[in-house]
Symmetry: C2
Subunit: 458 residues, 2 copies
Amino acid sequence: MQIKVFLNEDEMPRQWYNLAADLPTPLPPPLGPDGKPVNPEMLAPVFPMNLIEQEVSQERWIDIPEEVLQLLYRWRPSPLHRAYALEKYLGTPAKIYFKNESVSPPGSHKPNTAVPQAWYNKQFGTKKLTTETGAGQWGSALSFAGALVGLEVKVYMVRISFDQKPFRKIMMETWGGKCVPSPSPYTEAGRKILEEMPDTPGSLGIAISEAIEEAVSDPSGKTKYALGSVLNHVMLHQTIIGLETKKQLEKIGENKVDVVIGCAGGGSNFAGLSFPFMYDKINGADIDIIPVEPASCPTMTRAPYKYDFGDVAKMTPMLPMHTLGHGFIPPPIHAGGLRYHGMAPLVSGAIKDGLATPRALHQLECYEAAVTFARTEGIIVAPETSHAVAAAIQEAKKAKEEGKEKVILFNLSGHGLMDLSGYEKYFAGELHDYALPEEELEKYQQEIADLPSVESVK
Amino acid sequence: MQIKVFLNEDEMPRQWYNLAADLPTPLPPPLGPDGKPVNPEMLAPVFPMNLIEQEVSQERWIDIPEEVLQLLYRWRPSPLHRAYALEKYLGTPAKIYFKNESVSPPGSHKPNTAVPQAWYNKQFGTKKLTTETGAGQWGSALSFAGALVGLEVKVYMVRISFDQKPFRKIMMETWGGKCVPSPSPYTEAGRKILEEMPDTPGSLGIAISEAIEEAVSDPSGKTKYALGSVLNHVMLHQTIIGLETKKQLEKIGENKVDVVIGCAGGGSNFAGLSFPFMYDKINGADIDIIPVEPASCPTMTRAPYKYDFGDVAKMTPMLPMHTLGHGFIPPPIHAGGLRYHGMAPLVSGAIKDGLATPRALHQLECYEAAVTFARTEGIIVAPETSHAVAAAIQEAKKAKEEGKEKVILFNLSGHGLMDLSGYEKYFAGELHDYALPEEELEKYQQEIADLPSVESVK
């Protein structure tokens, strides 16, 4: 039995796939504070123009520069695995495949975009990148990318994570990145918040504001900001995952996939695996495509598709997305990652167009699935990834009930070796399920009630 | 440029290589407490007979069972990388290759023997495996292996590591292993020590005694003990590393390797990469083969080759090996791993026969090399592995001085994501170099002065 499918470097795809070119309903544009569409020049203080061009591109295929390919070869192409042991354990007639993104040096799919973003910035003349990080996956990946291309990296890490996960900081420092707790004394936004709330645990919203402020306030223009999810060019870079997977499936003669699954916080790993399959779906293929989120942060399954800001301080443009409201604070009981309030516009648009059918799962089911997976397939997945594993198990059980030999594919977006505290709490019985109460949902929605609807712009 | 060389699963070697068949000076036998050679039956309470047969085998090639291959496919064959970025940084004419063992789910080379050991035990009828672990790499690997083949695993973890590294325990538990701090109340040896020294930090020697005691005192005989290094069958299983590497080098037309490097604590990852190249050396090839150890634990470079016990409590047979003395306590200032007092008999014999030339390095040079490696090649290596990286850099600099286009190969035995505290101390300037003082060396040697010399047995 063949367990894994490798590709050689010369078999790796040479172009990224841009779903924006094929989405049946064209994406509504980002809006400025005045409610008018943002033009590319307005983003120039924050991002380099070569990435802004990708952000607004309508081209279906975008060439991956040779130098970027060389950098991706450090760990790509990643293996595609057949989960025979899990199939046997479940007694399912389904075939379960997973794409293993945990083999990158930082341990997740995040470098797939961190590396090209760093490279395009370097080409553009950027000297320093700023960013924010919550659990630390993205800050680690960008520090790694900065080391590879030779860029300074400054990471604002949500203070409570910074204090609870000191090793994430060491990891970034080993790659030469600088990691500071947010709110910090280095920005106006940070100082203001520290003055008002000296003991605040921080938030992703505050950290984003600090990172953007540092970038835009460098008078030389040589400091730019980098985001690890949500934006179109991030989704674009991640499509290498799905494009490789299609080649790998072809190599073993697996011509038809029935179900494609990815966990979704901002949407990037889900998009990376699924968008190349959405291309097939748009062209008539019958595929169930399932982004999975936590029931405690039900962005796709219970929140509306409308305009909202990407951060608490409203420094970003407004984006069309499924959103819980930028004031959303994830419940502390939830240990499973995927806590962002919004969903990538391209993923949100795909849901609206019926290309993807989101699902929300409770964390106990996800951790149970992750432990089953560790004890059958041998890989300890990240808390985020456990949502994809749990949905794959649901689908495999359904196939068993129906007696169908379905082909199920999911994205193993990262390993959990740096995030074992969730497993610790799970084993200790300290975790509980929690569905966001309707009144909470309404409270956050009220705060964004005045923001434009998607229909009003089109 | 090709960065990595993959092998497909059907290209993986089908046999392990046993250096014992080719060592110019045959290995002296293990001795019992009476000073007489131990026969296989005497090991039967501790190990299953199928592994004992491998331990004493003189066959050059030993078949890897098909079911073991299937289990190894979960992460093998591992990639061979060309370190172009490091070469460029060093400005060396040398080509540097490394075998990347960090891609296994537990993150090191240890599963290469944990999995076959678990499988052979399962075949033999064993229900439960006991073992000890220091930093946690081996306990994690055996827990992983136990999950894959369906065996209970109990790990005695040195108490100070258990307390300082709670996540290693969670990792083992996620795979279904049970991890307890040693000394523990579960064994006579543990209870005795707890009574005498309730606050002891524990030691590998104590943990070994506890693990062996639990195995041999199971009246059903269904509990066996597993060791992660030192023994012949462990070295045997690890040769998959070097055998794969030779195929990978052949694939890219790299016909001659000049230098082969591995770090060495008990010797298993060094043996795994180098033994297949020693086969070539025995048959006339000109290769420098370098096992690297810390200057603070200079087993190979400063300690004699003689008989000694594997543990403090003298529960193991006496083995012929380079040994600092079983009473050796590693200096607390040393953060770099590789703290075992002895060296595998096969590695010790290879050194005696001039097949390998050991080198001792200081930890600051090793951490500096590891940081250079992280910032060029992108992989954060384990503290143990940093010794191999540092020696590879030394050799690459030497090649530069000599103007020679040498081919240097080293084993990247594991990643450091679970062991970042050493990096933290290095960045904080808290680490210092420390060479074991002569009087310390003599003190421990005095304790084993009465044990037999290797010559006395032959």
